[in-house]
Subunit: 309 residues, 2 copies
């Protein structure tokens, strides 16, 4: 089924305890699309300014599955920029600067040829804007959104409105706590389901992710990554969502079994993002490489013998 | 193979956000033995005072697999007492009081009839005392210890000595960080392996556990427990270790596949402890109940379809 993503494309500057990278491709939409396009063609709707580097475009174009037909390069506008620094533990980070740029303007339009999209991912932005996109996607069959603490704090009503119109929410554990006041991820997920979505994914970073639907619960650890493997965690959550939605779109099915498989593919996709700056870990990935890493993941996450005698 | 555990038996007083219980059975050895004895006969070596309640003895005796042949009831001594309070999140706790009592006296002796034990678990106590037990266990084939922040801080040399003599260490993530200065659990586990043990298990509480050996890595999530299921987390780590070691002793084998299965059984055992105060969640557990919960755990932790086409 056709997959579309709306969200941000940005210019990132990242410092980690072991390295740094300036003005690299970033943004939720970029990471999502890079990961999702390994599984299925992925339509991108986003806006950048005329300062957007040509090599950032080339990078995105190097993913054969990405369709940039909904990317607006706006003359006189500035691309969204974000700078962040990871602390020693590679899990916590501080934002050094944010230049919203084009994100303060009107949202990008969904081109006519994308309006038949069936599988929809609304990457993190103002929930009012996310809701606005839905009007132009009349054929949507399975719609999932991401959000963040900022919108929970300053646009809760819009977010609650959005939750009533979508099928799934992908959210961090700290954001789930903020939204529901429930710290336990399973209890928080049920509170979110009461707000509308029938599928809730709570991302726990290095501790994996949890899926809750009315058909069951899935719990998956993160890919086992020792310190040398962790280069830059930026975009792991978006890549997880990309792998998750990419799998679902490629299967054309979101029953519990497919959602659970999608969680594992999201985990595998994110593990590639983790191993390099920007989109480099995902670039040129073959099905064989994805399957090989999945085999390692499956071996590590195996429950083992399940009968006593 | 014969399983022996040395450690504490105590009298606990526990407060949680939803309930409280006074003077209930506790201690690392009690929780370990209660969990392990579901899989294999378990020999207990510990000391209590003459204030140890008769109903605490009855409780331990209600587990058919527990052999109290190494339990010393000392006249004129006081049983170890601990009081703790769980914070709203049910994950962090504060200690309200600790009365060491009999733990400040000479450690219990290992009875002659227990000295042929092959599978050994040294539950948390001073590493010098843990090391002393080993002299009386000449037939030991697989020895695993637990430890805590206190000993890492005040008895590091003894602990390092112990690590050179044992096969495995089971440790919390925060303690692994304290011991190795490595926050990443896989990197920390490798640093611990450099100190001696060939098997390292890092417990992450509600986030599951990690196993590292020279043969591979296993990552398992905790059992999915929503808020109503979580009654009292006290003893979950010891019950995890009990299920882990009980499985290994029952199989008489600790190759990587058995260790990985043992991690899953430890997780299942701990999930029963979580659901009640003291040892009540483990009391009267049948193989059928353990296997039923394992089936739920396996379903939730399933990786799903692992090939793309």
């Amino acid at each position: 089924m056709s997959l579309i993503v709306t969200g941000t494309i940005g210019i990132d500057t990242v410092e980690t305890p072991t390295g740094s990278a300036k003005e690299i491709p970033g943004g939720s939409c970029a990471y999502f699309a890079a990961a999702a396009s390994c599984y299925t063609p992925t339509r991108v709707v986003a806006a950048v300014g005329d300062d957007w580097p040509a090599d950032h475009r080339s990078m995105l174009e190097s993913f054969p599955g990405i369709d940039l037909g909904g990317l607006e390069e706006r003359a006189g506008s500035k691309t969204f920029r974000w700078g962040g620094k990871y602390l020693d533990n590679m899990n916590d980070r501080e934002t050094l600067f944010t230049d919203l740029g084009v994100l303060e303007e009107a949202p990008p339009a969904i081109p006519a040829e994308f309006q038949d999209s069936e599988i929809v991912f609304l990457a993190n932005t103002h929930p009012g804007v996310q809701r606005g996109f839905l009007e132009h996607l009349p054929n949507r069959k399975f719609t999932v959104a991401d959000t963040m603490d900022l919108w929970i704090n300053i646009a809760r009503d819009d977010l609650v409105g959005l939750l009533g119109e979508i099928d799934g929410l992908v959210i961090n554990d700290s954001e789930a706590l903020l939204l529901t006041e429930q710290r336990n991820p399973f209890t928080a997920a049920k509170a979110i389901m009461d707000m509308g979505p029938s599928v809730v994914v709570i991302k726990k970073g290095e501790h994996g992710a949890v899926l809750v639907t009315s058909d069951g619960v899935a719990v998956l650890p993160a890919y086992p990554a020792d310190e040398p493997m962790v280069v830059d965690p930026t975009g792991c959550g978006d890549s997880f969502a990309g792998g998750f939605m990419g799998w679902i779109a490629s299967r054309g099915n979101w029953d519990f079994a497919e959602l659970q498989s999608a969680m594992a593919w999201g985990t595998v996709s994110a593990s590639f993002t983790l191993g390099a700056f920007a989109l480099e870990g995902l670039q040129g990935l073959t099905m064989e490489q994805l399957e090989e890493r999945m085999a390692c993941y499956q071996a590590a996450a195996r429950v083992g013998q399940t009968t006593i005698v």
